[in-house]
Symmetry: C2
Amino acid sequence: MQPPPKKPRRTAERILDVALELLNRFGEPNVSTTLIAAELGISPGNLYYHYPAKEALINALYVRYETALEAQLAQAGGIASIGAAWAFFRTLFATTWAYRFLHRDLNDLLSKNRTLEARFQDVLVRQTAAVVAAIDGLARSGAVRMTPHDAAVLSPCLVVLLTWWLNHEYVRDPRRALEPERAEATLDRAVYHLLGLLQPYLSADARAHWQSQVDARASADAH
Amino acid sequence: MQPPPKKPRRTAERILDVALELLNRFGEPNVSTTLIAAELGISPGNLYYHYPAKEALINALYVRYETALEAQLAQAGGIASIGAAWAFFRTLFATTWAYRFLHRDLNDLLSKNRTLEARFQDVLVRQTAAVVAAIDGLARSGAVRMTPHDAAVLSPCLVVLLTWWLNHEYVRDPRRALEPERAEATLDRAVYHLLGLLQPYLSADARAHWQSQVDARASADAH
C-alpha cells in the first residue's frame, strides 16, 4: 500500500498543471496518465490516488476552465466602450487558449464524456448570452448603433468566432501555432477580426478610437 | 485465398458510401473497418481487398470531398449578386455537411495522418482565396461597397464561419443535429448569418433584394 503524499492538495494542483501542458501540446488522444506521471516524476499509483482515471483529470481541468470563464463572462453587462469590449474578448480568447486541448478534440471528448457534453452546452448558452449582453452594452453606451435585427444576425457569428477562431489557427498551421511566442499576436489578431465585425456600426467617436488605437497598432504589427 | 469480387469498382464505391454514412453518424474514432464490413454484409477480407487500412478509406473519402469542394470553389470568381453568393456559400456548406465527420474530429485526424494534414491546409488556403474572390466579385458588380480594408477584416471571419459553423451547431446539440430533417434549415441558417455580415455594405438594390427575399423567408421560417 502506498502512503498518501504529504501535501495532497498541492500535488493534485501540480498534476493538473502538468496534465494541462501535455494535453495542450500533444492533444487529448495522445496523452496517457502514464505519460503524465512520468513527466511529473511520480508513480502511476500516486497519480491514481489523486485522479482514479484520465476522465477525472479531464473533468477537474474542465472545472478550472469553466470557473475562469464564468468569472469573465459575468463582466459582459458592464461593457460600455470599444476598449472595454477589446479587453473582454481578449480575456475570453486567452482562457480558450489556456485550455486549447478542449476545443482541439472537442467532439471526441464530448462523445466519450456525458458530464462534459452537458456542461459544455451550458457554457455555450452562457457565452451566447454574454455576447448579446456585450453588444447591448455597446449599443446603450452609444459606442455602436445597431438595430435588434443587426444584433441578432451578428451575435451567433461572434459566438462561433469566439469558440473556433483559435482552433482554426491551429488547423491552418499545427506546428507553428504551438509556439508560445506566437500566442500574443494570435490572440490580438482574433480580437481584431472579431471586433472588426462591429466596425460598420461604430459611432463617430468609437470609430476614431478604433482607427487611432486598433488599426494603427495592427498596421504597425504588420511591418 | 479470396477471389476478387466481380465488380471491384462498384464495391469500392459502395464501401465509401456506407463508410461515409457511419463516420458522419458515429464519428471517426468510433467507426472500425469491422463495423463498416458488417454494415455492408461483406467479409473483413473483402473490405481489406479494396482498402487495406482505415486510413486508406479515410483518404479516399477525403479525395471525394476535396474534388467536390474544388469544383465549387472554382465558381467564386463569377459571383456578381447576393443571390449568386447565397447559392455559392449554400453549396459549400452542403459539401461540408456531407463530409461532416472530417470537421468533427479534424485535429485528431490531422495529427494521425500526414497526407490529410498537408492537403487540408491547402484546402483552407484555397477556401480563403475563394472567399476573397467572392467578396471582390460582389464589390466589382456593385452589390456591395467595401474598402480593401473592410474586405481584409471580414474575409478571415467568413472563412472561419464557413469551416466551423456546422461543427458548432453539432456541439450545441449533438443528438438533434444528426437528424437529416434538420439539415436544410441548418444550412440555410448558416448562409443567412455568414452573408448577414455583408449587410452593412450592401448597395440599395442588393439591400432591397436581401430584405424582400432573405429576411422575409427567415422570418417566415421562424413562425
